[in-house]
Symmetry: C2
Subunit: 229 residues, 2 copies
């Protein structure tokens, strides 16, 4: 049997997995709302984000309570602090899904996505969904090798981001600046969503191995993405 | 005389103030680099961001060490955890300044900023500088009233953001989509910079009053800003 402290840690882990599920569902539905100009779906995503915010608050309260009651040191302390950071990443991923949904709502009854970038946006949504689902598996199984495969998904996201931005600036864009502004922001939201997912996976690696050598790579990755244009 | 724990807390507070100074300097120089197409200055901002990253790591290490050694509870515990969150915000503000500098570098020897939005970008830079300077004062003095004035600066940033986006989409934009993409992202970087500064100030209010009723307002604020377009 596990002691009270480790039972609380299990609760934290379960809640983090639940947060990945909610963030994934939010981004999946936001993508559909954006592509189909579905106002009701967009509004449900915006509304549902409160649940992720609440989960994060609960998790923070539990973590602080755990620190006060159990006064963990060493690895145990690191686990609690890292869990709080993971919940911050996941809550932010929910915000980014909400931002995508808000673009859908803003342009309703039109779709914000011109026909020639629909396939790219659809794929960005699919990669986002895949990366956050893996994120949940990584947290649940604490599998370091699995965590590393998220990098490949993030590379796929960067490639899609490059495609989208390339199309925006190659001189063939026929949809005016309002659509260009929308697609610039939406592209950034998907990219940041994937960045936060990678950050969560890195934190699992850190918990398991105690090494945080990936942190700087990740920052450089974001920079590379921002230079793709 | 203060005890060892409170001396450590003072060190944390001093380091947070130093981080506001560095983030402010970075955004101020990034704005100049962007407006003047100054490659050297842009590169110095990009390089200097490592210092902010290092400060954050130091501060995190000190905080975790403090939690392990002193096992604080109640308000003391809250202070340490909140300090870690503030350092995360401030480090992110440094990243955003670096992103602005990278746009400057990407477009060099041209300026990324068309003449008709120069004044708006200059003002966004000035508001960013002001808001982060106030942030430092708020941390140093733990002044709740002062913290509230940051909201007004953030409103000013929203107003500038609205002006910028309005110009991008009102049909008068003559600079093509590449410049539109640049200005959309740069506008978002300044807006997020101010959001994080407000978040830091809210955390100070939370430390002093124990009340976190401002958190949701802040989220709604970001949403309002994203709807300004």
């Amino acid at each position: 049997m596990r002691d009270a402290f480790h039972e609380d840690l299990d609760t934290i882990s379960d809640q983090l997995v639940e947060m990945t599920r909610l963030a994934g569902s939010a981004m999946s539905r936001a993508t559909t709302a954006l592509l189909d100009a579905d106002l009701k779906l967009a509004e449900s995503v915006i509304e549902a984000d409160k649940e992720l915010d609440r989960l994060r608050e609960d998790l923070d309260a539990l973590s602080i309570d755990l620190l006060a009651r159990q006064q963990p040191v060493a690895t145990d302390l690191r686990m609690v602090v890292t869990g709080m950071r993971m919940s911050a990443d996941l809550e932010r991923m929910g915000d980014l899904a909400r931002h995508v949904a808000k673009v859908a709502r803003l342009r309703y009854p039109d779709s914000a996505v011109p026909a020639d970038v629909r396939a790219t946006i659809l794929q960005m949504g699919q990669v986002a969904e895949r990366i956050v689902a893996k994120c949940g598996q990584v947290i649940a199984a604490k599998d370091v090798e699995d965590a590393k495969t998220l990098e490949r998904d993030d590379d796929a996201m960067d490639e899609l981001h490059r495609t989208l931005f390339g199309h925006l600036i190659d001189g063939s864009w026929k949809h005016g600046t309002e659509a260009a502004v929308d697609m610039t922001l939406v592209g950034r939201y998907y990219e940041r969503f994937a960045d936060h997912a990678v950050s969560v996976a890195h934190r699992v690696v850190y918990l398991v191995t105690g090494e945080w050598d990936v942190a700087e790579d990740h920052e450089e990755q974001e920079d590379r993405a921002s230079e793709l244009r």
